[in-house]
């Protein structure tokens, strides 16, 4: 019996202790008409060699194409030590650190993680993570509506330069509470400052902006932040954490700095893995900490006066506050936080900065090479490690042709940004070489010329 240790003698002895004649008897409180007599329509069990053969074949089907696609998930080098350590059973098979004395390893890592995220974002405090970047954004909007004492508005102002799927997830999560997202248009790849000025005087709980924006263009974060604060809006900064080693952090935007930062933690040592598990991060000014969702770890002293770590500010949470909690969230993404903390420790500030700068340089090289092809031009400048290319024809057939040549060519903007025209968001991380870029140029040239793979 897989994973069940009982011998027939064990079972007989245990039933005798209970005073039951059979295991079936232990289910006699389930009414007969609810009991399932037939076997589930699921096949027999597989042995480990059998399931290994199956999964090797399935993983092999996935092909391993050359990736020039970002759009919220990025291929970066992950040091071997990261997952070798994170999958140690003591991390992997532990749970939420309710018993602090028996969970100091997990708790100290969360404290170290909180310290690193606060440092990267330039804000005071961090939580222990949320599910992913999209839900972190939604929770940040909810938090801002709760926290803004100068406005009773249930509207959050955001921008079409913020990742489309984050806005979609936020709409799912906010609509039940009657909270509305209002979107500013994009101009030259970033939030339109003219449209922003036109909003002056309207009541919003917060302004949410993304740095770098979804289209790869850096936002005018100082002007946006100061505009928002002048109108008593809180400022939410959605940031790629890798880029915070290079770009000015939300805590230093404008005159007063952003109030809340959040984003997708995947670039910090988390594999692409078809979309998850990743983790979302959320940091804020200390004054807002009691409005934060999710677990928070604090450092304190034990009975002997030695430092130790424990979950704190739990009065915000569902298991205490029930229907009046700041969120229904129960867990964090603990194992991903463990990996990210190890990743940031190994890379350090200088390593992260070099990776971000290399991504920028490689994307610059990619753009330069691709725009030499006829009918391909750069849409917006400046850009960080993603850029929009404009085409003289629809992008989808080109992406299909590239895919047949083993290349993920980028993100087709047609559905989300019809106002841009045929556009492709491309990305070359530090993992792409000059040869990779040459492969892409060759394949795209052939696709544009209409040649089959």
């Amino acid at each position: 019996m897989p994973f069940i240790p009982h011998t027939p003698q064990d079972v007989a002895g245990m039933l005798a202790t209970i005073g039951a004649g059979s295991i079936d008897e232990l289910f006699d409180e389930i009414p007969a008409d609810l009991a399932l007599d037939d076997a589930l329509p699921i096949g027999p069990g597989l042995t480990e060699p059998e399931i290994t053969r199956l999964m090797l074949a399935r993983a092999g089907q996935d092909g391993g194409p050359l990736c020039f696609l970002g759009a919220g998930a990025y291929e970066h080098h992950i040091p071997a030590a990261v997952w070798a350590l994170a999958t140690r059973g003591e991390f992997y098979s532990a749970y939420t650190p309710y018993q602090a004395e028996a969970s100091q390893g997990t708790l100290q890592i969360i404290y170290e993680f909180q310290s690193m995220m606060a440092g990267l974002t330039g804000l005071d405090v961090s939580n222990a993570s949320l599910y992913d970047g999209a839900t972190a954004f939604a929770e940040a909007c909810l938090m801002a509506v709760r926290a803004n004492r100068k406005s009773r508005s249930r509207r959050v102002l955001t921008t079409r330069a913020l990742t489309p799927v984050y806005r979609a997830v936020a709409r799912t999560m906010l609509s039940g509470q009657g909270i509305e997202l209002v979107e500013l248009p994009v101009e030259a790849g970033r939030t339109s400052l003219a449209a922003l000025q036109a909003m002056t005087g309207q009541d919003f709980a917060a302004l949410a902006i993304q740095q770098p924006g979804f289209l790869g263009v850096p936002e005018a974060v100082d002007a946006l932040t100061d505009w928002a604060h002048a109108g008593n809006l809180l400022v939410i900064g959605v940031c790629n954490p890798l880029w915070l080693a290079l770009l000015r952090p939300p805590g230093e935007w404008g005159q007063a700095g952003a109030d809340i930062a959040c984003g997708e933690g995947q670039p910090l040592g988390i594999p692409l893995a078809s979309g998850g598990p990743y983790f979302g991060y959320l940091t804020c000014r200390e004054a807002l900490v009691r409005q934060m969702p999710g677990r928070i770890v604090g450092r304190t002293l034990d009975l002997d006066g030695r430092p130790g770590y424990t979950l704190t500010l739990q009065a915000r949470e569902q298991h205490i506050r029930r229907s009046r909690a700041t969120s229904n969230i129960c867990t964090n993404q603990g194992l991903m936080v463990t990996a990210a903390t190890i990743f940031m420790t190994l890379l350090g500030a200088e390593g992260l900065r070099r990776v971000a700068a290399q991504c920028h340089a490689n994307t610059r090289d990619l753009v330069a090479a691709l725009t030499r092809l006829p009918g391909v031009s750069l849409a917006f400048e400046p850009f960080c490690h993603e850029a929009v290319l404009r085409f003289d024809r629809p992008v989808a057939p080109l992406l299909q042709a590239l895919s047949a040549r083993g290349i993920l060519g980028g993100f087709d903007l047609a559905a989300d940004y019809p106002e841009i025209g045929p556009g492709l968001l491309v990305c070359a991380t530090e993992m792409r070489t000059a040869e990779d870029i040459e492969c892409y140029v060759q394949a795209l040239g052939e696709a544009l010329a209409g040649r089959r793979a």
């Binding site: 240790p5 289910f27 609810l34 399932l36 589930l40 018993q99 961090s126 078809s274 229904n328």
Partner: protein, 493 residues
């Protein structure tokens, strides 16, 4: 055990693990200079060996399933098979970009499609969405679907979600997040829901009820069919919180009990790792009437190929709950586990989980402990109340929990459910042997003996853990949440 310094204390200016980043910093002159960071963030400066030692030592400060019996009630801390992890981490799965063409993901999508089908079989439901990333998000999806269903019928008067007083805190918190008011109904003396109170509670404002069965009291809700009849007759829907599915897997199905929507915690019933607090997965399954509202994406099959079904194919969907496909890697781990068990293995999960719980409950009752519902069968978990011992000796459930740590056992869930005073909620799971259960029972007996002879000794526990009891009041009052803002605590060494 010695304490491990904070990683920043290992830091030395200029020390690095240089093989993980480019050898030189590329030119950033083409970025707007006014947007560049002025000073580097505070991150450690350590060698690779420094990092490996630090995090290895930290791991050794944890209790975990791999090292300790972990009978945390309502959390299903069973063995997490290593094959599920290594197979989900095959390079072909790990390297796949979430927005990659489906042509580059057929093997991955086939696993998810088959997982959906197996979860339909387990729950008896018609439709499944795998996207929710934890139980609480599955709850959100379920209640949002109930809301969408009523709204689609133009029925906007239903403003109340009913929850039993024994419910997990996530249930009322979820109802609030979905914009509902919460109405609690009490539990009767035998642990079943109070049906008269339920009849009083339902009405034209009832959107639905959230139930866990077996309940958090560790007993099967025997009159569930009547509950379903009362709620449906009032026009409400039934939500099944699958936290305790391990107790009935292959033995009973939520659809047959009358539930309209279910969430299952794959990190409980299907043994994906808890990871120190996530990632989990909280898939949702629904009957026909809620099917159009399932969150997207869903994996469909068309002409022998697997495809994503999105808002385009499912316009009534409540929408998206994650940027991509939920916790995809967790889904793969659950898939491997379910395929390894097969149909007979699933039923065995419930059989042996319930056998172990009833065995341990009997042993403890025979040893003189008070169990909450002695006349009832335990499900996969049960409650011991230490109220009498606490009254006689002053030694509380919390003290027992800490004393267990010194004896090498993770503590059960304490002080939940809230309606049983001084309680331990004990869930042994099916993967533990009877010797482990005997050892645990003996430890509880020894602690009780010590509580009577030397209560101060029990209250001083734990003594063998890396730290002793922590000052939670100080933690919340003098907030120290990050290293750079650390105040040097008085007396710290």
């Amino acid at each position: 055990m010695n304490r491990e310094p904070v990683v920043f204390e290992h830091s030395r200016p200029g020390r690095r693990a240089p093989s993980h980043a480019p050898a030189h910093c590329a030119d950033t002159a083409s970025l707007p200079q006014e947007l560049l960071r002025r000073s580097p963030p505070l991150l450690p400066e350590v060698s690779e060996l420094d990092a490996v030692r630090h995090f290895t030592r930290l791991s050794q400060l944890n209790f975990s399933i791999d090292t300790h019996f972990y009978p945390l009630g309502s959390c299903t801390m069973k063995y997490n098979p290593r094959a599920a992890n290594s197979l989900a981490m095959l390079p072909g799965f790990l390297a796949r970009h979430p927005l990659g063409a489906v042509g580059h993901g057929q093997g991955f999508l086939e696993c998810l499609f088959e997982l959906q089908e197996m979860l339909k079989a387990v729950t008896g439901m018609q439709g499944v969405s795998l996207t929710p990333m934890a139980g609480a998000q599955g709850e959100f999806a379920g209640v949002a679907m109930i809301r969408a269903y009523h709204a689609a019928r133009g029925d906007h008067a239903r403003r109340v979600i009913i929850v039993p007083d024994a419910a997990h805190g996530t249930n009322p918190a979820t109802a609030t997040m979905c914009g509902y008011d919460v109405r609690e109904v009490p539990t009767g003396p035998c642990g079943d829901i109070d049906l008269d109170a339920l009849r009083q509670a339902v009405g034209p404002d009832t959107a639905g009820i959230m139930l866990t069965n077996p309940s958090t009291l560790g007993v099967f809700e025997r009159r569930i069919a009547e509950v379903a009849g009362i709620v449906h007759a009032a026009g409400g829907l039934l939500y099944y919180d699958g936290a305790n599915m391990n107790a009935i897997l292959g033995r009973a199905r939520p659809a047959t009990m009358g539930f309209d929507v279910v969430h299952l915690n794959l990190h409980k019933t299907f043994s994906t790792p808890h990871g120190g607090g996530g990632p989990g997965a909280g898939i949702v399954a629904v009957n026909q009437r809620l099917d159009p509202f399932l969150p997207v994406p869903i994996v469909g099959e068309r002409d022998g190929r697997y495809v994503w079904l999105t808002e385009r194919e499912r316009p009534q969907s409540i929408g998206r709950l994650s940027a991509f496909m939920g916790n995809a890697g967790v889904l793969l781990r659950a898939y491997v586990y379910m395929r390894m068990l097969g149909a007979p293995g699933m039923r065995r999960v419930a059989d042996y989980a319930v056998l172990n719980a009833n065995y341990l409950m009997t042993k403890l009752r025979q040893a003189g402990f008070d169990v909450a519902y002695p006349e009832r069968r335990a499900s996969h978990e049960f409650i011991v109340s230490l109220k009498a011992i606490a009254r006689d000796t002053g030694v509380t459930a919390m003290d027992f929990a800490k004393a267990l740590l010194d004896r090498g056992y993770h503590a059960p869930t304490t002080y939940f459910p809230l309606l049983v005073p001084e309680c331990l909620l004990i869930e042994p799971t099916e993967t533990e042997s009877c010797e482990v259960l005997d050892g645990f029972a003996a430890a509880l007996v020894a602690i009780r003996d010590q509580a009577r002879s030397d209560p101060a000794a029990v209250k001083a526990a734990p003594l063998t853990t890396p730290v002793r009891r922590l000052d939670d009041v100080r933690a919340a009052r003098d907030l120290d949440l990050t290293w750079q803002r650390r105040k040097s605590p008085a007396g710290a060494s």
